[in-house]
């Protein structure tokens, strides 16, 4: 009995390894983003996020490569006092130190080729020296990145520090409440994203419910054909419609406005929305409707009192879908909202294109933009999955 149990267990080990392996691969990239978003600027951009939890590197390397001459605290050699704050501050980059290795002191080369630390180690050593001399006393984790992202700070230190020193850029007032409305900030983008996504979710939902009712419980010529066309419309690429719509918007003067985007998302969300709700409404029990009619109900009451309430699960699925779809959209925001009303995806894309190395800001902003979708996702996973299964067509 026991050996059989053991054998079963051993047999299932590869199974667990594969599953857990995939889960780990799936999680690690996201974990990197999250961890980095909480790390101080210098750390985030200079050391790997996986080192965040370990002892800061550098001390051991210092002892190994430099300690025997410069001493444990760095002040053994008076001409080059590595324990002196001001002296260390003059070395901003580890390359500056690397450049001294070829110098000769008292006829001897500073560090022979074989005794030199490599670039990474030297960077760690410098970081260690800066910490030791009290230059970089920074916490392991911080939330300043989030502050910076929210108010749209783009400087080299952080919002709080700049505001204390009075060196903030002109677009910041250092009144936090007021800076929340900075057009470069994620706070405003968050508000804009909500402002886009909520109406662009409700509007198609309502229109689709009406149309789905007609497709399910009303009789008209060409019903099947119209519905077939609808199925086809679901996969028309967005790119097909951008140019004509931009032109019309331009003529109507609603380019860059929320109204234009709401309607656009409604138009594109409808085919799938109708399809999904119809599949659900159409499969409600017939007898229910028949008896309602025998009792003298009209289509309007049947729609309002029967079809709508009973289709709530489908409507919920759809609401989640459409919300995530709109919230996560970049292309439509890029073309129809532009920088006039920047949403979160738009801001992040801007950061990616312009900021190159500012991983602390980028990761914090990206994480902010994922917060709401993730909450929605975890809270309503059931509906989300159900919606997927009901109409696995739209992408």
């Amino acid at each position: 009995m026991n050996t059989e149990k053991l054998r079963n267990f051993l047999g299932s080990v590869p199974l667990h390894i594969v599953i857990i392996g995939f889960c780990v691969i799936w999680l690690i990239p996201a974990l990197g983003l999250m961890v980095t978003s909480f790390r101080p600027v210098q750390d985030a951009n200079e050391t790997g996020w996986w080192t965040a939890f370990s002892e800061k590197p550098g001390a051991a390397e210092y002892t190994q490569y430099c300690g025997k001459c410069h001493g444990e605290d760095g002040s053994e050699i008076a001409e080059a006092d590595l324990g002196d704050t001001e002296y260390i501050e003059s070395f901003r980059r580890s390359l500056q130190i690397a450049a001294t290795f070829n110098r000769e002191y008292n006829g001897e080369i500073h560090l022979a080729e074989d005794d030199r630390p490599d670039d990474q180690q030297l960077a760690d050593i410098l970081a260690h020296l800066r910490r030791q001399t009290g230059l970089d006393e920074r916490p392991q984790f911080t939330i300043t990145n989030y502050e910076d992202a929210i108010v749209g700070y783009r400087g080299t230190t952080n919002y709080e520090a700049d505001c204390e020193a009075g060196t903030q850029s002109v677009d910041l007032t250092c009144d936090f409440a007021q800076d929340l409305t900075n057009p470069r900030g994620m706070a405003l983008a968050f508000r804009n994203s909500l402002f886009v996504a909520i109406p662009a979710t409700i509007l198609p939902l309502i229109l689709a419910a009406f149309a789905a009712y007609a497709f399910s419980w009303m009789d008209f010529k060409g019903r099947i054909w119209f519905f077939a066309i609808l199925v086809g419309l679901q996969v028309v690429p967005l790119q097909m419609t951008l140019v004509p719509i931009s032109r019309i918007y331009f003529q109507l003067g609603i380019g860059g406005t929320f109204l234009g985007v709401w309607l656009f998302h409604t138009g594109f969300g409808l085919p799938y929305a109708i399809y999904l709700i119809r599949n659900f409404m159409g499969s409600l029990p017939r007898e229910l409707f028949e008896s309602a009619y025998l009792d003298g109900a009209s289509h309007w009451t049947a729609f309002l009192r029967l079809a709508l309430p009973l289709s709530m699960p489908a409507l919920a699925s759809l609401a989640i879908f459409q919300f995530l779809w709109v919230w996560n959209d970049l292309l439509v925001a890029l073309i129809f909202l532009t920088g006039r009303n920047p949403v979160m995806t738009y801001q992040i894309n801007n950061l990616v294109q312009s900021l190159g190395g500012g991983w602390h800001l980028l990761t914090a902003s990206a994480f902010l933009s994922m917060l709401l979708p993730l909450i929605v996702f975890f809270a309503f996973q059931r509906y989300f999955v159900r919606g997927l299964l009901a109409g696995s067509v739209k992408g």
């Binding site: 599953i19 990239p29 099947i224 199925v231 690429p237 967005l238 989300f384």
Partner: protein
């Protein structure tokens, strides 16, 4: 389509009252623009003349289809057959084909694998949630996440996860997003990361629909797990696999954000949807941009047809 109970029959106007708002909006936002875009693709860059006018004496010209000549051939190096072949595979069309082949097999394969395996462990729900998670976030967010994973540091300091691994194995760090041909593969991996969960969820539901007695019977007959899977499970869920594959092909054809955010289509990673954006909004070439869009919808049309066909079949079964 289910027939409507007799007593519920109504006049011919009532349905259209329910349909009108949705239909009008769809006409305005999908049908009309599609037609107009097709027209614009035959016009020149400012839509002022027919595309024929933009032909240059002595250069190849396809007349009114000039923009299509540009869309289809401008990325090709036509010196000889070999250069055409080679340049095709790094053009937006070649890349889209790579995307389709690899992303569809990758995400459907991993999705199926996870659906089958997770079914057998107690932490099924958790494992599936994790694989499914990326579906909730934006392509832009995913772009940032993976750009960070692929980060290539100059010098020896590597803060990108992959290059740090490579370095710890004493390998030479790789500029993943700039180096051909690995950059397109790197982008496709992001796509798989995003979409495998979608495939998994749908396939998993189909798997749960396979009657247990059938599998048990085969097992009692002495068939191995492997055989049961290939001979019974797979044929049973084949229709669902087809649906997932078609859906994924369509999604892949439309891939835009990942490429746009991570490489901007540079370093020979362009795809059709991104090229449309470049021609239209960066080069300001309306004729060419719309022609690329039309090529894109032409590629999608077979799948529109498939979808409708499948829909008709489903309705017949109902």
């Amino acid at each position: 389509m289910s027939t409507v109970p007799k007593i519920m029959r109504q006049g011919q106007i009532a349905p259209w009252l329910y349909l009108a708002p949705a239909v009008l909006i769809m006409l305005f936002y999908i049908v009309y623009p599609t037609a107009y875009t097709t027209y614009l693709s035959l016009r020149d860059k400012d839509s002022e003349n027919w595309a024929t006018e933009s032909c240059i004496e002595g250069n190849p010209c396809w007349g009114i289809l000039e923009n299509y000549r540009y869309a289809l051939t401008s990325e090709l190096d036509t010196t000889n057959f070999q250069t055409i072949w080679r340049s095709f595979w790094i053009s937006s069309f070649g890349n889209n084909i790579k995307w389709i082949l690899l992303m569809v097999t990758g995400s459907v394969g991993i999705g199926l694998l996870m659906a089958v395996l997770a079914d057998r462990v107690r932490y099924e729900a958790l494992a599936k949630s994790i694989i499914f998670l990326p579906m909730a976030i934006s392509f832009v967010g995913a772009g940032v996440i993976w750009k960070f994973v692929y980060d290539y540091g100059t010098g020896n300091v590597q803060i990108g996860f992959l290059n740090a691994i490579i370095r710890s194995l004493n390998g030479e760090p790789i500029a993943f997003l700039q180096t051909l041909p690995i950059n397109t593969l790197a982008l496709i991996a992001v796509g798989i990361w995003m979409w495998a969960g979608f495939c998994m969820v749908i396939l998993s539901a189909a798997l749960k629909g396979v009657p247990n007695e059938l599998l048990e019977a085969a097992r009692i007959d002495g068939a191995s797990e492997w055989r049961v899977f290939w001979r019974i499970t797979i044929p049973m869920i084949l229709p669902t696999i087809t649906v997932v594959v078609t859906t994924m092909v369509i999604n892949t054809l439309k891939v835009f954000d990942i490429v746009f955010v991570m490489t901007g289509g540079n370093f020979s990673t362009d795809v059709i949807a991104n090229r449309m954006y470049t021609e239209q909004y960066i080069n300001q070439q309306t004729g060419r941009g719309t022609a690329v869009a039309v090529v894109l919808i032409l590629a999608v049309i077979p799948f529109i047809y498939l979808n409708i066909k499948r829909f008709r079949e489903q309705e017949d079964i109902r």
